[in-house]
């Protein structure tokens, strides 16, 4: 059995990973290479998209918002088989709400697809019973917020699998305790584990105190 090594970071398969050396090869060899390249798995026609003719900041706002939402929804489709249908519908409603042109603040960026990818990975790893409230930073990073009484957990999803999280737990008296972390999304569950994540992620009826 040959087996596949599981790399620690993302790998990218590139049909053109090798340097272009046509000038070093005979015509016959180049023809063989061309025939092999023609066998490469072509993208599905449904993935064809129009290339924007304008720079993002020159496009109408509605176009920018729609394109960003479209990218997020297509990313969701890639993991739809792992998502509850009702949750997916409500997620789309939340994303649509965040990208309402009437509520949009000038200078903000719509949702960054790389941030949304990080969010999906985290969500599918955590599988919270309670849906979070969603927000958006001005740079287009998606934010998920869980609130239980006065206690707050907020996670900002950055591109490239990074997350920033902060949680605040309010004792009966005195100042709140705050904890924060910046981790790779693969270690988010581990990072939250000492802070009783069920306090935020379970349904209210099943809720556990923070400590």
């Amino acid at each position: 059995m040959a087996g596949l090594i599981i790399p620690s970071g993302p790998t990218v398969f590139s049909p053109t990973a090798l340097p272009r050396l046509e000038q070093a090869f005979s015509a016959g060899t180049n023809e063989i290479a061309r025939l092999v390249a023609a066998l490469q798995n072509q993208p599905s026609p449904a993935s064809l998209r129009s290339e924007p003719r304008l720079a993002p900041d020159e496009q109408p706002l509605e176009t920018r918002l729609f394109d960003a939402l479209a990218a997020a929804k297509i990313l969701t489709a890639q993991v739809a088989m792992h998502l509850d249908g009702e949750w997916r519908t409500k997620l789309f409603a939340q994303l649509d709400s965040l990208h309402d042109a009437e509520e949009w603040e000038a200078g903000d960026e719509p949702i960054d697809p790389l941030s949304f990818q990080t969010f999906l990975k985290a969500f599918l790893a955590i599988k919270p019973a309670r849906r979070p409230g969603l927000g958006l930073s001005y740079t287009g990073n998606l934010i998920a917020a869980w609130t239980t009484g006065r206690d707050r957990l907020t996670i900002e999803f950055l591109p490239n699998d990074r997350v920033h999280w902060v949680l605040a737990v309010y004792p009966d008296e005195g100042e709140p305790d705050r904890f924060a972390g910046q981790v790779d999304v693969s270690r988010l569950v581990q990072g939250l584990a000492p802070h009783n994540p069920e306090h935020w992620f379970l349904d209210a009826s099943d809720n556990q105190p923070a400590r």
Partner: protein, 146 residues
């Protein structure tokens, strides 16, 4: 040149918070503010707020006047809200989380109440969350102000 004036500790400031930066539950019910509502943009030296006591009248009158001024100078979304915080409380919350801020009067041509929170770290989520939860404790819905 306008002398830099720190706002008095007993006074209040108001921050505009668009819909996308309101803290909500999974059903989009508004609960408060997200920390990023108080995040400076990269090209900003200070966090913009209105000085509430610039306006005359009682508290409600000041709030209405400040909201009106926001509506005159920026796009205010229907579902947005405004956070109100006491100056001393804002400074204390920041200090408790490791930042010494100044809240200074920075009037502009179109907004004479404009002020700024200076020296606020831009990417410190703990401070931003603390501002959202413990400093700007009053939330005024845009729809509540005719």
């Amino acid at each position: 040149m306008q002398a830099i004036t720190n706002l008095p500790d007993n006074d209040h400031v108001m921050r505009y918070v668009p819909w996308g930066r309101l803290r909500r539950d999974g059903d989009d019910n508004v609960l408060g503010f997200l920390g990023v509502a108080f995040q400076r943009r990269a090209n900003e030296d200070s966090l913009s707020v209105n000085w509430l006591e610039y306006f005359p009248g009682d508290r409600d009158t000041k709030i209405r006047a400040s909201v009106t001024k926001f509506r005159e100078t920026i796009h205010v979304g229907t579902k947005s809200a405004f956070g109100v915080g006491n100056v001393a409380r804002v400074k204390n919350v920041c200090r408790a989380n490791g930042a010494r801020v100044r809240i200074v009067y920075e009037p502009t041509d179109d907004n004479l109440s404009h002020s700024g929170i200076r020296r606020l770290p831009r990417d410190d989520l703990s401070i931003l969350d603390a501002l959202a939860a413990d400093a700007f404790v009053d939330l005024v819905q845009n729809t509540a102000i005719p």
